[in-house]
């Protein structure tokens, strides 16, 4: 049996959905961030899969995947700083208890 593009795309769709599940069901802000990393990784995996199997020989898909990884790193650094800052201020990282911006 040959591996087609659809095999890879279904794996990345499963990772994306698991990321969404974690994003909606977890209370700890750090685990929510891990779910966001899963989602971003599924996106960059799609770029690489389509780049390698639809346009072999071109590097555009991989260049975009590099941009996604870079933005994910920047996002992780800022989000970590915010979570640590909130923890110093509120002594909790439970997203249900952080309601200061709730009107």
């Amino acid at each position: 049996m040959m591996l087609t593009i659809h095999h890879y795309l279904i794996v990345s769709a499963a990772l994306f959905s698991l990321g969404i599940f974690g994003l909606l069901s977890r209370r700890n802000a750090v685990v929510v961030l891990m779910s966001v990393e899963l989602i971003l990784n599924a996106a960059s995996m799609n770029f690489i899969v389509l780049g390698q199997l639809v346009t072999p020989g071109l590097v555009t898909g991989k260049v975009f995947a590099i941009f996604v990884i870079t933005v994910a790193a920047a996002e992780a650094a800022v989000a970590m700083a915010i979570i640590v800052g909130i923890f110093k201020y509120r002594q909790t990282v439970d997203v249900e208890k952080i309601t200061d911006l709730k009107w």
Binding site: V11, L24, A29, G57, L58
Partner: protein, 169 residues
């Protein structure tokens, strides 16, 4: 052979990803995240994108997961926060993510991906990516590259300022 490796990687990646979103212990979730990211690096290797696989391991496993583990340690509450799955949260989340998954699979099954540009590549992958990223020509990515570098500097400075200990506290 390729198929066997693919299915082993599927099992490892999806098992670790499921554990990331379901395990009540935050530190364990971070360790399972490493397994999931390494599985994805394996997929990139299987696809023939060795450079992307190396970038994935260096940036994610070496950088982001270490950052996450530091955050886990810096934010551990006294007594330890047990993030137990809560039925009134997991059921809507499962419905939404299931709908997203089946919607995506349906769209993928409708789409036929045609192989285009069977260009023979005689350069190495890392060299080709580097030339594409830094070329000034009409199909180069020098401007996004510079914008992303500014974004990284801004994010790092912002992270330092947000997380910095305030004076006199």
């Amino acid at each position: 052979m390729e198929t066997i490796v693919f299915y082993i990687l599927v099992i490892v990646t999806l098992f670790c990803a499921v554990k990331v979103v379901t395990t009540p212990l935050v530190f364990r979730a971070a360790i399972y995240l490493i397994g999931s990211l390494l599985g994805m690096a394996g997929f990139f290797m299987l696809l023939g994108a060795e450079f992307m696989s190396a970038v994935q391991i260096v940036v994610y496993v070496g950088g982001i997961v270490v950052l996450i583990i530091f955050a886990v340690m810096l934010t551990s509450e006294p007594g330890g926060m047990q993030d137990r799955p809560d039925i009134k949260r997991t059921i809507p989340a499962a419905i939404v993510s299931g709908l997203v998954f089946f919607g995506l699979v349906y769209v993928f099954s409708l789409t036929e991906f045609k192989r285009m540009y069977p260009v023979e590549q005689n350069k190495g992958l890392a060299q080709a990516i580097g030339e594409k990223l830094l070329s000034l020509g009409p199909d180069g990515y020098i401007l996004p590259f510079e914008v992303v570098s500014v974004l990284l500097v801004a994010a790092l400075i912002g992270a330092i300022i947000i997380a910095k200990k305030e004076r006199g506290e």
